[in-house]
Amino acid sequence: MLSKRSLVGVRWNFHTLAVLFFFLIGTQVFAADPAVSESEEAISAGKTVFNANCKTCHKLDQKAVGPALRGITDRQSIEWAKRFIVNSQEVIASGDDYANDLYEEYGNLQMPPHTFLTDTDLDNLLSYIEYGDKVDPAAEASAGGEGGEVSGGGGGIPTEYLTIIVVVLVIVLLLILIVLGLIISVLTKYINKQDLPEDDKEFVSQKFDIGKVLKSDGFIIIVTAIVIALVAKTAIDGLYGVGIQQGYAPTQPIAYSHALHAGTLEIECQYCHTGVEIGKSANIPSANICMNCHTHVQNVEGKEGISPEIQKIYDAVDNNKPIEWVRVHNLPDLAYFNHSQHVKVGEIECQTCHGPIEEMEVVYQHSSLTMGWCIDCHRQTEIAADGNEYYDKLVQLHSDSKDALKVKDIGGLECAKCHY
């Protein structure tokens, strides 16, 4: 399943109701200044400006580091908005009440000046803020109605049904057992009332001897075989597990929370992991990237003073001493893995391998990272060939086949794709 890689997508169901509620009100309350252009080009140009300059701290319809932006031209004049964007400190210093209130509300965080933005840029930006990326409430509602099962496995019988079937079967079998027992006792009573030869009598009244069964060769052989099989399976499973660190969650030098940054604040993965679309390494962010935000954000949940964890970043920067993170995902040196191939070219979501990273307080190794795990995925994953000229010939040659073009079809299972 190839959807755009965003954390919002994964957290869909949790927010559905909130967003729905928000929009029912939002669409009525916020109306844009009619002077703001509604043209497609302006909105898309504005989106570019927004993504480049604003996205780190702002969202359109939700509070983030800074306020939600949609409706700003209704709340204030276009002129005011432009002035504030270009140099907020100037507006605040001029004694503007609204600006000062905002400043205070958001913990006296300074917004950096954007003097480099042209007037057209600003117009486009406002177009995007007012009209861009609106979520259709109707679509929202229907998405909510499905119960939010957006992600997850393919077809098959759900596990609850399986359990019910098993329970019903067990009950039926028990009933049959009871019925059979009743029939036996009735028949025995009936036979005992008859006059029978000595042999038959003995046969009818014989007792079930559990000791004999336990000592029988057949029983011993069966039990021994089962024990050996179990021990062997445990041993083999144990050996297969050697070197697999699934679930490995070492304590990191800074109690950094992905749940907070990626989950609650919805910061894009690539903001910190800058190498993920260009190279082999995703890159553990250098301290200067942390400082982009943590120059301003010094503590959590509006607490006073500097958080001891954030202080560690400052120490690292002040002493020019890098933070020594503990590596969680360790591939052996003999395997070559390139993030850009998977993320940029293959359009795989981070969570596919790294799990629900946006919910992790402490990062753990979600996948087994074994070769079997890699290969399984290569067998199942389709090539993101759309619009990629590199794959044109392969797609053309594969067009006769009924199946989709998968990684395995273009040599994705070959040794020298990863080992050299």
Binding site: V242, G243, Q245, P250, T274, G275, E277, I278, G279, K280, S281, N283, I284, P285, S286, A287, N288, I289, A316, V317, N320, K321, P322, I323, E324, W325, V326, R327, N330, P332, D333, L334, Y336, N338, S340, Q341, K344, V345, G387, N388, E389, Y390, Y391, D392, K393, L394, L397, I410, G411, E414, C415, A416, K417, H419, Y420
Partner: protein, 1030 residues
């Protein structure tokens, strides 16, 4: 098809069918001492050891994996992204040698050097020495900081000491190899202004003083000209190894390669005559090679002059008669192609060079193929001034001597006298980067950066400039020599600012008017080179003022036609060169192109002399001999060299280092001691007073030449003469046919296999044996790119060298193998063919079918993949490989103290910085081989995929092809009909089949008859000869 009647052999033992050789020849792995005990059987103790190991291994495996750290930058530099290489243009210069390079860095470490394609001099190409120089950066032997009288010191103390001592020192001499840097010259000017009596004395270990001196006599300009081999239809060389070591070999090899490219459409190539005593790499490539004695060489040049003069109607000079085969023929060809021919000589005798100038003048080559108007600045050393300097130093007339990145104690003929004399100077300083033979004798060691840590500029040729920039922060507390000079001169400016200032005043003033200086500078730095010359290679002639008769009579006096004594010709090897980089194990283990010997120098002797003295050489086994030259004697092993002129002996420079570092020390014998500088120039040919005596001690030379033999399957080399080729483009081709169902068919028509389908790419390599000169740059490039281990001399003797690409050198002659007399003649002067041999990436690969664990498999792009982590080391694949290109890791070569002294790139913490992080370092017990640089293929594909486009031809290239100075190797996608390799092979259809229809007549598969269907194609060797002859 014409049957070739030639006999090919890789070594004399094969030619002579030596029983010892025959016994071993069919063994993949020769008899070797066992790894387990002397007797080859495992003892009980060994068994217990092994058992203990497996227990320990099992329990270790159960432990938790070690905690690994991921440490990011504190402040990440904008242009450095982990795992993404950066490339910087820079310049290699050492001892008067030059190459504009592009340095690949990973995470701030230089790991690979390639040529800079923008350079009009080396045109994107390099040689083995330049390729290997990146490893020298990580040399543990380098000085880690300044030192005073052998004690570690700091720069402030050193500067104070030097400033005060220089001030009262009197006459100051700066001794250096050729300085190519205009800014460095300016720095020295400033230094001179501060101290007054300063003189720069330049010398070069491989001197070309004779050419400069002759130009002064003959043209009135003391310069070395540019040579344009690419414009020459006839090339005559008297002992000049211009493809290997002479003046500017990378440039000349590139030019020469152009004249050796041949196709049906353009069936013309240059004709190359070589007259020499040792069989040089250049001589091995010649169409006609004549072995002559060094004592005759001057007379041969005179004789050629007279022949040309006869044709030109100029006055002949009197000279003694001398019989030289092919000389008359050469004269005729030269005359026929006058104005497009070239005569060069490797002699350092100015008189001989004057005659050479006169010959080129008569042929009208001045201004056509020899260009004095575009002088080169390589090797401008002044032998006579240096000679005088040694006398002055000994006489105590020198106040202060500064050795600027040179090592005359080792590499000057009078090194021993310099070593004694240094103490006579009041002040002695060295900027050498290592505590070498010279630096260890001086009072002040002020070590310079490695060139990959330095800023500098260069002017290799009039009007051509290039820059060097640091590609790594200095590893040690060293300081750029120019900064040292500036500091001592009292200047506050750093060399970087000084350099920019020089460029602002000179080049920017003439070239960059329209742009701001910063832009001009940035662009120059980005490109690495700046061309301020007029239109390139537009040669103009200059007027001769000299006279040839004086030189002729001097030559007549100095040379004789019938010298009966032994003669010594001292040469330099393509790999080790002048010995500066002797501490580089990549170069030490690179087999010499001709002798295929590693880790040694030796006395090359003729077959006749060996027979007369009762020496026979079977593979590595030989004997030692003592050579005495005018009182000095040295003992070294003997190597029988086919093609060695009778009565002459060859001896390579660059060995016998005593303070070169742990790799270099004790390897070979120093030949500089035997050079003669009594005539005012360094004479590499000693023609009198030479005596050679066999000592009888046996010795082993680690040669790779007879390893992996083809067992008499002679069609691996296919060749023809140009005349035959012109009539039939498939001349010389061996086209095997196999009988099937009543008819003879091509081997490819019969196969057990279904055949692969390559839907996207089909990687292939075309190798032109006609332009392969054997220089081995590919081999070192491969070593650097693929983390190939160095195994050391003993392991090479055990036939366990690891090179993924080897260059097979075949001797050949017309004489059939049973004609013994004929064979004797043949071994006196055989033809030579070079054939680069690497994994042929067979479509029907014999290795794949025998691997019990499927560790070697076929890819969907035509590659034969080797998976190390799957290999269990049965070595079946190597046994079944018809090309013998698979290498087995008999030992763990990394992190192993037994190999720490040779395999420095995989043992030292410092050396490991050169490793390519994209290629696994292999462990003991696994097989390895050429992967066709699969890491580059994967990286190139990924880039294209990221950019959502098709791959362009040329953007992915294998390391060997990138390095090749003659473009003999061409790599590409055979599924792309527009790729260079497809066009060379004339593959027209765009099919996905593994079996491509190749229409080029010259292209063939080695061992086509066994139909393993390689993806590597060879092009027949074409010799520009009238008829097939030895």
């Amino acid at each position: 098809m014409k049957e070739t009647k030639k006999t090919y052999w890789k070594g004399l033992e094969q030619l002579n069918n030596d029983p010892e050789f025959v016994k071993h020849a069919d063994r993949e792995f020769p008899e070797l001492p066992s790894a387990l005990g002397e007797d080859g059987s495992a003892s009980r103790r060994d068994f217990l050891k092994l058992m203990g190991f497996s227990l320990a291994a099992a329990s270790l495996a159960a432990c938790e994996a070690p905690v690994r750290k991921a440490i990011p930058y504190v402040n990440k530099p904008v242009d450095i992204n982990p795992s993404i290489p950066n490339y910087y243009a820079s310049t290699f210069a050492s001892g008067g040698d030059y190459a504009a390079v592009v340095v690949k860095t990973r995470e701030g470490r230089p790991i690979k050097i390639d040529g800079n394609e923008l350079s009009p001099i080396n045109k994107g190409k390099v040689n083995a020495i330049v390729e290997a120089s990146v490893l020298s950066l990580y040399d543990k032997h380098r000085l880690t900081g300044p030192a005073l009288n052998g004690e570690k010191s700091d720069w402030a103390t050193v500067d104070a000491q030097v400033k005060s001592s220089l001030a009262g020192a009197g006459s100051i001499k700066i001794v250096s190899n050729t300085i190519l840097s205009p800014s460095t010259e300016k720095v020295i000017e400033q230094f001179t202004a501060a101290f007054g009596d300063v003189e720069v004395i330049m010398y070069d270990p491989l001197s070309n003083y004779g050419i400069k001196k002759a130009a002064e006599t003959y043209y009135g300009q003391s310069v070395i000209p540019s040579y344009y081999f690419d414009k020459a239809k006839t090339i005559v060389s008297f002992g000049a190894d211009f493809l290997g070591t002479w003046i500017s070999p990378i440039e000349f090899a590139g030019q020469y390669g152009k004249t050796r490219k041949i196709s049906k459409e353009n069936p013309e190539m240059s004709r190359h005559y070589q007259f020499e005593s040792n069989l040089s790499m250049t001589g091995a490539n010649a169409d006609y090679r004549t072995p002559i004695k060094a004592s005759q060489s001057g007379l041969a040049v005179l004789a050629l002059y007279n022949m040309i003069a006869g044709k030109a109607g100029a006055t002949r000079v009197s000279s003694p008669a001398v019989e030289v085969a092919n000389l008359e023929k050469a004269a005729n060809d030269l005359w026929a192609s006058r104005g497009a021919s070239l005569v060069v000589s490797g002699s350092n005798d100015p008189n001989v060079q004057v005659v050479i100038n006169a010959i080129n003048e008569l042929l009208g080559n001045n201004g056509a193929t020899v260009d004095f108007s575009a002088p080169v600045f390589f090797r401008r050393g002044d032998d006579s001034r240096m000679n005088q300097f040694v006398d002055e130093l000994k006489g105590g007339q020198i106040g202060a001597v500064i050795f600027h990145n040179c090592n005359p104690v080792y590499d000057h003929p009078r090194g021993a006298e310099i070593a004694e004399g240094i103490a006579n100077a009041r002040v002695s300083i060295s900027t050498n980067g290592t505590p070498d033979e010279t630096a260890s004798l001086v009072q002040v060691q002020a070590p310079d950066h490695h060139f990959l840590e330095s800023w500098n500029d260069f002017q290799p040729k009039a009007g051509h400039f290039s820059l060097a920039q640091p590609t790594i922060s200095p590893l040690f507390d060293t300081r750029q020599a120019q900064d040292s000079f500036l500091t001592w001169a009292g200047s506050e400016t750093g060399y970087y600012d000084f350099l920019q200032q020089t460029w602002r005043e000179t080049l920017y003033a003439t070239l960059g008017q329209d742009t701001p200086f910063q832009e001009f500078w940035d662009r120059s730095l980005y490109n690495g080179v700046v061309n301020a010359a007029q239109a390139e290679t537009e040669a103009t002639s200059i007027v001769a003022i000299g006279d040839v008769s004086a030189a002729a009579s001097a030559v007549t006096a100095a040379y004789s036609a019938d010298n009966s004594g032994a003669e010594l010709i001292i040469y330099s090897k393509v790999g080790i060169g002048n010995g500066t980089f002797a501490n580089n194990p990549w170069l030490q283990e690179m087999p010499d192109p001709i002798t295929k010997a590693t880790w040694d120098n030796y006395l090359t002797v003729s077959q006749k002399w060996a027979t007369d003295n009762g020496i026979s050489m079977v593979e590595e086994n030989t004997q030692k001999a003592t050579i005495s030259v005018n009182g000095k004697s040295l003992t070294l092993p003997v190597l029988i060299q086919p093609g060695q002129a009778e009565g002459t002996f060859g001896f390579a420079l660059g060995y016998g280092r005593t303070k070169g570092g742990r790799v270099a020390n004790g390897v070979g014998v120093n030949a500089y001691d035997l050079l003669d500088s009594s005539k005012g120039f360094v004479n590499f040919e000693v023609t009198s007073g030479v005596e050679v005596q066999v000592t009888g001690d046996s010795y082993k030379i680690a040669r790779t030449q007879t390893h992996q033999t083809f067992m008499g399957r002679e069609n691996v080399i296919q060749e023809a003469t140009l005349a035959d080729y012109k009539q039939d483009a498939s001349a010389g081709r061996y086209k095997p046919e196999i009988y099937k169902d009543g008819e003879f068919v091509k081997p490819s028509k019969i196969s057990l296999w279904k055949g692969h389908q390559y839907s996207q790419h089909h990687w292939g390599l075309a190798i032109d044996m006609n332009s392969c000169i054997g220089c081995s740059a590919c081999s070192v490039a491969c070593q650097a790119e693929n983390n190939v281990a160095v195994v050391g001399k003993q392991e090479v003797l055990n036939r366990r060298e690891m090179a993924w690409i080897r260059i097979d050198r075949y001797y050949s002659s017309d004489a059939p193998a049973d004609d013994l007399d004929g064979m004797e003649v043949a071994s006196q002067n055989p033809e030579v063919t070079f054939q680069p041999m690497m994994c042929q990436q067979c479509n029907n690969a014999p290795c794949e079918t025998v691997c019990p664990v499927a560790a070697t498999t076929h890819s969907s792009e035509g590659l034969n993949q080797m998976t190390y982590n799957r290999c269990i080391g049965t070595r079946y694949c190597a046994n079944n490989c018809p090309y013998k290109v698979r290498r087995f890791n008999w030992f763990k070569y990394h992190d192993n103290k037994d190999f720490a002294g040779v395999n420095v790139a995989q043992n030292d913490d410092l050396g490991k910085m050169v490793l390519n992080p994209d290629v696994t370092v292999r462990v003991r017990g696994v097989m390895e081989k050429c992967s066709m640089c699969v890491q580059r293929i994967q990286a190139g594909k990924l880039t294209a995929k990221r950019e959502k486009r098709k791959i362009q031809d040329g953007e992915i290239n294998v390391a060997c092809a990138v390095a090749c100075p003659t473009d003999a190797l061409v790599f590409g996608d055979m599924n792309d009909p527009n790729s260079k390799v497809s066009q060379l092979l004339k593959i027209e259809e765009n099919s996905t089949s593994a079996l491509k229809e190749v229409n080029e007549e010259r292209a063939y598969h080695v061992l086509e008859e066994i139909n393993v269907s390689p993806n590597v194609w060879y092009f027949t060797k074409i010799r520009n000869k009238d008829k097939n002859e030895a």
